[in-house]
């Protein structure tokens, strides 16, 4: 068996056993659940920024749209959870299409600003609407209910999220290593050359936005039913930036980078201690700067380097 397969199996086993070990401390499992939800969004952003080279400073808004859509459909219209989540994904995908079109005409900073504007504006609009609970937020969102099975406890949620996370990560991995993924990376590396080589840039850029926002929408829907509370403030510009930071620190254009970055983001304040929580933000900022300067693939790069060393000595 290859070493990498072995490591993957070990990690999988660990993630399966972890909640049982932690069963006495559901709050820790709740943290892990949050990490998996964020990791999904971060993966969407990674696909967009890391692989396709397109910036989005409004990704939190996609999460919010997904979350509110699913929650409202279930609470107000009595939708089945499966349909509500699918609707959420489709709607965010549609929004991604809407944001993707400017990306065809805008490049670099103009795109950054346009996505920032759209993201901030949609958070603001959610705040003004009544169906979303406005400034009060949306409370008591029911937990996930799939084929009449309710995911109530943190452990139940954990396993469901783990399965979804694995599926999405594997699908993304397939995508980026396929013909389409190659096209995305080619556009990132040298846009005009990619076009000359027969790649329809417009199509792939929009596709990157759509898929990326669909993943964020899924993540938002899961957030709604897991945390059972939504408030527009949690999905403003700051969170978009934080998502970006997590993705960068974890490692752009690496499959497991987003998960690593999110793990780091969520646990860092706990490691430094609650009182020093704000120092964690500053520290994370420093990590972003260092990642860009020394480790273009973020935390993943450090792991790669370790791996290379291990290979050398074994």
């Amino acid at each position: 068996m290859k070493k990498s397969t072995l490591i993957s199996l070990l990690l999988l086993a660990l993630s399966l056993v972890l909640p049982i070990v932690l069963s006495e401390r559901p709050s820790l499992i709740a943290y892990l659940n949050l990490i998996m939800i964020y990791a999904l969004s971060a993966q969407g952003l990674n696909l967009l920024l890391g692989y396709a080279g397109q910036v989005s400073l409004g990704h939190a808004a996609f999460m919010a749209i997904g979350g509110y859509t699913s929650a409202i459909l279930v609470m107000q219209f009595g939708f089945n959870n499966i349909f509500s989540i699918i609707s959420a994904i489709l709607l965010t995908g549609f929004c991604g299409l809407f944001v993707g079109f400017p990306s065809l005409r805008l490049s670099g900073f103009y795109l950054a600003i346009a996505t920032m504007a759209l993201g901030t504006a949609s958070a603001d609009i959610i705040k003004r609407l009544s169906i979303t609970g406005g400034d009060q937020g949306l409370r008591n969102i029911p937990p996930l209910n799939i084929f009449s099975y309710e995911f109530v406890s943190e452990i139940q949620k954990y396993y469901l999220l783990l399965i979804i996370l694995l599926i999405v990560f594997i699908l993304v991995k397939n995508l980026v290593n396929s013909r389409s993924g190659r096209a995305l990376r080619a556009i990132r590396d040298a846009e005009l050359t990619a076009e000359t080589m027969g790649i329809n840039i417009a199509y792939y850029k929009v596709v990157a936005f759509v898929i990326s926002s669909m993943i964020a929408g899924l993540s938002g829907a899961l957030y709604a039913h897991t945390i059972s509370y939504l408030h527009p403030v949690n999905f403003g510009l700051s969170f978009s930036i934080e998502l970006l930071a997590m993705t960068i620190v974890g490692g752009l254009a690496t499959i497991w980078g987003p998960l690593l970055g999110v793990l780091f983001w969520v646990f860092l304040p706990r490691i430094i201690g609650a009182r020093m929580e704000f120092l964690a933000t500053a520290f994370f900022g420093i990590m972003v700067i260092l990642s860009i300067r020394f480790f273009p693939r973020g935390l993943s790069e450090i792991i790669f380097r370790l791996e290379r060393k291990l290979k050398l000595y074994s």
Binding site: N174, M197, G198, V207
Partner: protein, 247 residues
Amino acid sequence: MILQVKDLTVRFGGLVAVNKLSFDVKPSTIHGLIGPNGAGKTTVFNSIFKLVPYNGNLIYKNIDMGKYPTHSLVNMGISRTFQNLSIFYSMTVKENILVGLHSKKSSNLIKDTLGYKINSEKELLEVSELLNILPYLSVYAMFLPFGILKMVELARALISKPQLILLDEPGAGLNPAEKERLKEIIKRIKEMGISVLMVEHDMGIIMNISDEITVMNFGEKISAGTPEMVIHDLKVIEAYLGEEIHA
């Protein structure tokens, strides 16, 4: 004719980069395009690929290319290389070359996401053997030297089995041994039935392997014909070569 350039004119602001240029590329020949720096040779390539707005007609196999977007040209059978090496540096050599096959092999997003693999090994091996880059297929492009990347770029343009290939200074930056090899490769490309339109400064390459040559200066055609004819054309000598050369 595989390619007909008719009255091609390109303007950048007030500057006329190409002025009423006309020439034809015959099937299965090597056609050289030469002239001093700034004469507008690369602009001709960029017009063919619709990267610059132009007036006039570009006709490829009796089709006016005016309405075809850049990304559809590979599928029509035209591919190119670049004057300044344009490589996808964060990808492996294999991936770089496979990008050239993008529009020739079909798949869709859903198949791709579900992990469906396209088999391109045959094409990949063929072209890598021809260009002698087999050992580097799994290496990331950023780690490779210039000479090899030049070949990778050529492989990327060749793998789609084009009918017309545009080479923009394929010899620039290569050492004498590499240049010798390049000549052989370009001849092999011609033998495969591919027409070559080539911009090149190295007279050793261009005079040796071209079937026909068009000479440009200030965006205009100043001479055309076989290498023998062009070499002895006084206008060419004045504008470009600087002195008479003896073949």
